[in-house]
Amino acid sequence: MTHSRFDVTRRRFGQLIGAAAVGTLAAPAIIRAQDRTLTVRDPGGPYAQGFKEAFYDPFFEATGIQVTGVQGDHAPTGLIASMVDAGNYTWDGSILSDNAHQVLVAQNYLEPIEVTDAIREVPEQLRTEYLMGTDVVGVILAYRTDTMGEGALTRWADVWDVEGRPGLRALRRSAFDTTEQALLADGVSGDSLYPLDFDRAFAALDRLKDDVAIWWTGGAQTSQLLATGEVDVLPTWNARAQTAIDDGAPVMINWNEALYTFEGWGILRGGPKVDLMQEFVSFCAQGPQQALFTPHLASGPTNPSAYATIPEERAAVLPSNPVFFDNMVKSNAGFWGGVGDEANERFNAWVLS
């Protein structure tokens, strides 16, 4: 083993190990580049149906390029990193959360998105250089109306008001979102939320800790908790609460002070079909196309012109609805990219103390 063998970056280290195994598999990639098909990863379920009708099928009709949506792991960063490192592109692009895309950009795994006219219609806070937002996700406060009463909670501070609003509470077992909620409850304004004051957030969480019945870990779990009435109050993603509401559970969503984030298309760096992906991503920025996924998916379109064709009733439950969008606070994934690890370590130690 020579000295130069050690003189490599972390990613190169991985590449070296495998390089000995076989000559690279460049040939299949070249063959694939010639066919006009794309394989993209979406989160499946309602996304799969919604995106098929809004994006995949119409894009094929418009361009003859066939897009296959495959359901992928909910946090696909590890897979994407491995694909790019190995030069083996199972996917050409992927739906990514703002958070996940920050992690991938930091390690140079994504292609920059070519900004077209359609993409310019999407507000700048809903896209980045590497991610074109397709839908807005709300982190809202959901509560049972049978035990709490309708309109009982209108802001994060109400969650902390245990005496005035008795009921079982659940919070997310993660520094993400929970820190923001604690600060907003403590009186920090949405404009001056970032950079987050962790000391103040943990002081606020200290006051509520004994009254948190459950620290939840997954989205499906929150739907179940709400639907069965296991807890009365919890913050969750709006679509998760909506599932319980659609099933007839007496649950209400408070949109005031809700946090929002967005997800969208990212393109895997160096893949054989980057050009086709650019074309596809631009297609997905169009408002009328985005409107087509909303019957299936309780997420908000990023292109405001989509609301022109969405029925009012449906628009009322979509996070990017102008009616309450102005009172929502953007979750800053860029900020978290720098401190997420440390903050979660502190959070995990705190929650166990």
């Binding site: 050690f6 490599v8 970056t9 972390r10 190169r12 280290f13 991985g14 190990i17 495998g18 195994a21 598999l25 299949p28 990863r41 989160p43 499946g44 379920g45 996304y47 495959v70 359901q71 992928g72 792991d73 946090a75 960063t77 590890g78 897979l79 990193a81 491995s82 694909m83 190995a86 083996n88 199972t90 996917w91 958070n99 992690v103 991938l104 077992r173 019945a213 459950i214 620290w215 870990t217 997954g218 989205g219 499906a220 739907s223 179940q224 069965t228 009435g229 296991e230 599932t243 319980a244 659609d246 099933d247 007839g248 997420g340 690890d341 979660n344 995990n348 130690a349 929650v351 166990l352």
Partner: protein, 589 residues
């Protein structure tokens, strides 16, 4: 001697080669990342582990949960395995009941426990309705909930590991002891129990190390105080792409497990699991202390049981002349029935829930609807996933047996240098968190073009299956009387014929057990499938997981019910076939 060495190599070679390529290479790549940072060696990741008390705390929680789970599963599994080993007619049915929970996705099981144990869950509803409690009991989101679900998940594993050893116990020893005047309690504690210990030891270790890797059950049913360390590894890999630190945590887990195994070996000896009887006696100092103590304890237990039995006999609750060959008495049957009930409750619970009109798993189910079955039946994806899962599991189990059984023979029978190392290697895949193997394999397979292939997935699952095959088979081979082989040689049979006509038929229960293990492990495996399928190819657990990430709907329950019904039919058919074969054989002159 040279030919003996050659045989050893032939037996162990495939296992060494296979595990080196598909286990050591990918895992050491990941572990390498924990000491490399931007090209230079670094101890930063380990420094962080040492500086932050959090990680020791998480490790402690993980070990506590695994320890309790092991105790519950082995103690609960013992009477079940005992009863199955002692009855001939009901064996197939009982095995079916033990294995039934395996055919429901562990995710669905976790969610059924949520519905059963919740504040407004079925159990609390029942107890409140019966006027037994005033306020709902806290059955979930605490250690109780986690242990109930974990013990439930691990019981079948414990039973299946202990069973082959019990089946191999020579009945004549029991008869002999009775002839010499031993009462049932003495027969059990002084003869049966010591002979079954290798199985108990094997089950203990397998359940313990498997439990260490569980994270979904604690995450869903536990409180923050049941956060296990694997969750942290997954968080580091999936959320932060911090493979270096994830690797360091993995090393911490690995070192802890190895330390525990070494301790276990020092105190009890691996005789039960790895070595032979010869090795057990090679610790004269320790056994000089433990042997009399053990004998005294067992003797005491025997006397207590005998007295109890006499008392029950006096009350005419059990027959006075119950003999070891007449099979187990009522108390044991009752205990076993309760444990089996515990095993199948959440499974049966799925059935009514799958016919609900609601879109959640809830109790009581609302209305009656076949919509969820319709959704599954219409879906080509479910069918493809089911076929793929069966195919992969068959391949993985065959491969696991082909590699693991010879290695088990070598480990149990032959003495060679590096035996302990080989044993450590073959069981290591259980100890290393699956996500490590998964990510490492993905890296390796990307270069071999094996991602998203049936073969690739089967190779990955075989890595996981080998430890179970080896441990199960070693316990069986160790008890196998090698003199039978020598007798065959003396009578002129060559090695192959002896193997086919003497050895293999005699260890058949072990082989069947090992195959089923390997099959089930592959069939229920999610982590490796998540990484190796990449979305274009799908297995059942993967499909269930994908659905569950978005919403745990009764569609999952419906799929589980169909799967259970199918597997029940398969196992019942096999049982009928076996009985008919036995009848035909009996009729032959």
């Amino acid at each position: 001697m040279a030919s003996g060495q050659k045989t050893t190599w032939m037996l162990t070679g495939p296992a060494i080669l296979f595990l080196a390529v598909f286990f050591l290479v990918p895992v050491s790549w990941l572990l390498g990342l924990s000491v490399f940072d931007e090209g230079s060696l670094t101890a930063a990741n380990y420094q962080r582990l040492a500086d932050q008390p959090l990680y020791a705390r998480l490790l402690g929680i993980t070990l506590t949960i695994a320890g309790w789970t092991t105790l519950l599963a082995v103690v609960g599994g013992y009477p079940v395995a005992f009863l199955i080993a002692r009855t001939r007619d009901w064996r197939g049915i009982l095995l079916l009941l033990v294995l039934l929970p395996f055919w429901t996705s562990f995710l669905v099981r976790a969610f059924s426990w949520m519905v059963l144990l919740g504040r407004r869950g079925a159990l609390n509803q029942f107890l409140e309705g019966a006027g037994l409690i005033d306020a709902p009991l806290a059955l979930m989101f605490n250690l109780t909930g986690v242990l109930v679900a974990m013990a439930h998940a691990m019981l079948p594993l414990a039973v299946m590991t202990m069973l082959p050893v019990m089946l191999n116990i020579d009945r004549r020893l029991l008869l002999a002891s009775q002839t010499l005047g031993a009462k049932p309690g003495s027969v059990f504690w002084r003869i049966w129990f010591p002979l079954s210990m290798p199985g108990v030891a094997a089950a203990g270790i397998l359940v313990f190390v498997t439990s260490l890797g569980f994270f979904i059950t604690p995450a869903l049913l536990g409180s923050e105080r049941e956060t296990v360390i694997v969750q942290e590894i997954i968080f580091q890999i999936q959320q932060l792409l911090n493979w270096g630190f994830a690797g360091a945590i993995g090393v911490l887990v690995l070192v802890t497990v190895l330390a525990i195994l070494a301790f276990y070996n020092a105190v009890f000896g691996f005789a039960g699991v790895a070595g032979s009887a010869r090795q057990a006696t090679s610790k004269p100092l320790l056994s000089a202390i433990t042997k009399p103590v053990g004998n005294a304890v067992l003797g005491g237990l025997a006397r207590v049981t005998d007295a109890l039995y006499d008392a029950l006999a006096a009350l005419r609750l059990v027959g006075r002349s119950a003999s070891a060959e007449r099979g187990p008495g009522y108390p044991l049957r009752l205990v076993t029935a309760l444990i089996l009930g515990f095993l199948i409750v959440p499974t049966l619970f799925i059935v009514p829930v799958s016919f609900t009109e609601a879109s959640f798993l809830s109790w009581p189910p609302r209305g009656f609807s076949l919509q969820w079955f319709g959704a599954v039946a219409e879906s080509a994806v479910w069918q493809e996933a089911a076929l793929r899962s069966v195919l992969v599991a068959l391949l993985a189990a065959s491969l696991g047996l082909a590699i693991g059984v010879p290695a088990a023979f070598a480990l149990a029978r032959r003495s060679f240098r590096g035996k302990q190392v080989l044993f450590a290697l073959t069981v290591a895949p259980v100890v290393v968190p699956n996500i490590f193997i998964a990510v490492g394999l993905f890296y390796l397979f990307s270069r071999l073009g094996l991602t998203s292939t049936t073969v690739g997935l089967a190779l990955g699952h075989a890595v996981l299956a080998i430890p179970y095959v080896v441990v199960t088979m070693m316990a069986v081979v160790r008890d196998y009387d090698e003199r039978l082989d020598y007798a065959a040689y003396t009578l002129g049979a060559n090695k192959l014929r002896t193997l086919v006509e003497i050895t293999l038929p005699l260890i058949r229960p072990g082989l069947v057990s090992a195959f089923m293990f390997a099959f089930i492990i592959s069939f229920d495996e999610l982590t490796i499938a998540l990484f190796l399928t990449g979305g274009t190819m799908i297995t059942l657990p993967k499909k269930m997981w994908d659905d569950a990430v978005l919403q745990v709907s009764p569609e999952l329950a419906a799929a589980s019910v169909l799967l259970m019904a199918f597997m029940t039919c398969v196992i019942l058919a096999a049982e009928l076939f076996r009985r008919r074969a036995a009848r035909i054989k009996a009729r032959e002159p």
